[in-house]
């Protein structure tokens, strides 16, 4: 199975976030900083990432925080292994990845994270939703919630920017119940793809 990152590679150049300095809907809220602040406030100090353009800002924010050890992984199941080890070593982990990764990680979610009862917040860019310009992304988007439901993974969908207000509570919930928990963040949440 190819890594989920493949889906991100062939995007048109207009998706490049670096060209959009004003990426947030609200002039008062920096969403990347808000997410990172919530991670730190919940004592999450070990974060692995597999990139998606939609997540570029939050990954950059995490990378510069001294409170967080940022360890990029080459594939999302590898990242979940790193998180499992970090948690057993006494650190609270999180993984940041694209929804195509659900296709990559089902075995790891079932036989490692769930079987050994480990907490794992998964901040997921939900590609293939409204405003998506790349048709192939829709092919995994239509399976994403069904697969998460099949795995009995608590799933939250951030569509409006204000939905981020619930992140802190979701993180507390994750470490209360020792389960993987999915937070799907779609293009509308991130403020679209720049020209739409």
């Amino acid at each position: 199975m190819p890594p989920a990152l493949y889906m991100c590679i062939a995007e048109p150049d207009f998706l490049n976030r670096a060209k959009r300095p004003n990426r947030t809907n609200s002039p008062t809220m920096n969403i990347d900083k808000k997410i990172t602040d919530d991670l730190v406030a919940n004592d999450i100090s070990f974060v692995t990432t597999v990139p998606c353009k939609q997540l570029a800002g939050v990954i950059a924010e995490i990378d510069q925080r001294e409170d967080i050890y940022h360890i990029p992984s080459n594939k999302e199941d590898e990242g979940m292994g790193l998180c499992a080890g970090a948690w057993m070593g006494g650190k609270r982990p999180a993984i940041i990845m694209q929804n195509t990764a659900i296709g990559v990680t089902i075995n790891t979610l079932a036989t490692l994270i769930q079987f050994y009862r480990m907490p794992l917040p998964m901040l997921i860019s939900y590609r293939g939703e409204l405003r998506e310009p790349v048709a192939c992304q829709v092919e995994m988007a239509v399976h994403t919630k069904a697969l998460l439901a099949q795995l009995n993974i608590p799933t939250y969908h951030f569509h409006h920017q204000s939905d981020v207000e619930e992140l802190d509570t979701i993180l507390k919930y994750t470490f209360m119940c020792n389960k993987p928990v999915a937070i799907l963040t779609d293009a509308s949440f991130w403020g679209g793809y720049g020209d739409q």
């Binding site: 050890y69 594939k75 199941d77 292994g81 790193l82 080890g85 970090a86 070593g89 075995n107």
Partner: protein
């Protein structure tokens, strides 16, 4: 020498250390030879022992020894660059390289043919990589512990498995007693 003979020989070295052990027969053999609360047995998820061990080593100061196999490392080859670029000097990856998928009927792996895992680890950027013969594994492992440097060991051995019972311990029990041993 086959894998179980290596494990018997290095069991006294492993006993006092945190050990993450690969899925299948390797975990069954280690469990039968010398079960310890400091052993984390993988009951599933082929390929991730090295990743779990790295996350563990980066998160606490005690030495971590990962017992992996050539087939499992080939399954998760992306682990080698991640290990190389996130140096944890309390991390030892011991790849028991018998050139076969032992748990599934000893089908040959590419590591037993043209592919060198030691060279791949070096190419990935790992700085202390040692390939040894099975008989030297104990000495090389002890030297790695003494060196206090991140070390990748590729121990070349013969293909074959000892007949050991399946681990029936509950995974949450394995994980819980392991976490208590980490904190002890």
């Amino acid at each position: 020498m086959i894998r179980s003979e290596i494990l018997k020989e290095i069991a006294p070295i492993l006993r006092d250390q945190l050990v993450v052990c690969n899925i299948g027969i390797p975990s069954q053999e280690l469990h039968a030879i010398d079960d310890q609360p400091t052993n984390f047995y993988m009951l599933g998820t082929m390929g991730l022992a090295s990743s779990i061990g790295l996350g563990l080593a980066l998160s606490q100061p005690k030495p971590v020894i990962v017992i992996d196999g050539d087939g499992s490392v080939l399954t998760n080859l992306g682990t080698l660059p991640t290990i190389a670029n996130n140096v944890a000097d309390n991390y030892i990856l011991l790849i028991v390289d018998n050139g076969s998928y032992g748990s599934t009927g000893d089908q040959p792996t590419y590591a037993g043919q043209k592919t060198s895992l030691a060279k791949m680890a070096e190419a990935a950027g790992c700085e202390r990589v040692i390939e040894c013969q099975a008989e030297d594994t104990g000495r090389v492992l002890q030297e790695a512990l003494d060196s206090k440097q991140m070390t990748i060991i590729v121990a070349k051995c013969e293909s074959g498995n000892a007949k050991m019972p399946v681990i029936t311990m509950d995974p949450v029990v394995i994980r819980d007693r392991f976490m208590k041993a980490v904190q002890a």
